[in-house]
Symmetry: C2
Subunit: 196 residues, 2 copies
Amino acid sequence: MTGPKQNVGRPRDAQIDDAIVRATRELLVERGYAKLTMDAVAKRAGIGKAAIYRRFATRQEMIFAATVHGMEEQPPPDSGTLRGDLAAVCRTIAAQLGAAPPDVLHGLLADIHADQALGARFTGSFIGREQYVLGEVLDRALARGELAAMPDVRVVHALLIGPVFFWLLILIGDREQVAALSATVAESVADSLVKG
Amino acid sequence: MTGPKQNVGRPRDAQIDDAIVRATRELLVERGYAKLTMDAVAKRAGIGKAAIYRRFATRQEMIFAATVHGMEEQPPPDSGTLRGDLAAVCRTIAAQLGAAPPDVLHGLLADIHADQALGARFTGSFIGREQYVLGEVLDRALARGELAAMPDVRVVHALLIGPVFFWLLILIGDREQVAALSATVAESVADSLVKG
DNA sequence: CTAATTACGGAACTGATAGTTCCAATACTG
DNA sequence: CAGTATTGGAACTATCAGTTCCGTAATTAG
């Protein structure tokens, strides 16, 4: 980020940052990912396009910031069982995923994986955070004696979140059923892990 | 498809159909989904752009045809157990998914879900086929007496394929580990289903 | 054989849109 | 005040999907 010198010149208007994020989110829902144009965001936000490009290098960066930003997932409160903790994590992530229309999620993922650097940032921040949370949950289970050894967190991640992800993004299944699916998955994964 | 009258005029050159598909697949691997241009496909195939648009209405249709086409998945040979059959289905689909670079899969999915009609065709042909195959496998298990009742095929689909999908597309995990993951998932799902 | 019809490569064209550049005005630091 | 970075707005460039037109070639109907 070779930006301008700090503390010199006119400061950026923080309201504009907000307006860009809000306009982007609104238009993503209203028009869909593919039909979101930079001109439309600028117009909706009541600003010039230059103000956007002073903050984000590309359209992809802008959308990334407007959607994935501020997702600081926390480990769930200790439910007393691995199954309960896994279900809580699963529900939280399912709710986040379910909040956006499928076409937005697919568009975002496509843009993220079309760019090496953006992909690395996504993996490091979002995916890494989820795996940290899962690691905490698994540590608790180890401390309780539910587990004999620490499993591969990435595998647990895939087993737990994969089905929900697939349900929401590929099967486009009922959103109401996601809670039930989360419970089913958590039970299945917990059984599988405890068994060995 | 209100095409031209059949049996009149110069027939289409079947070699061109091939050349388009081949050029598209090559360029997807070489340049990635986002950087695939119609001009590049035409040039690589040694044809004019008009010949492409006489066959496909849009870039999305062309890529869809060049990638998803001819995926006539068959039910696996009866392995004697639900677990074995599920593992076979899972391995087959994992191999298909793993054959394309992640950015191509994400780009394709984004385009598919950006268009209502294309999404319906994808669900009907590809997803529907996978669920038909799973239905056969579950029928066998019912006939064997492994299962007491027919489960929701869509849920089984999500539980089985979701983790592999997530592993390959989101976690970008090792491709060698996919076989092991398939076995783990199949076992976990089979246990879960047999249990009730 | 002739007429009608469609396909062919190639090139020119249109329209949409990401990203850039310039402007005059404004807000901040020192 | 001098210097710098901001603002909205508008004009601009470059890329690319999709269209149109050309002269030519291949096929069927009569």
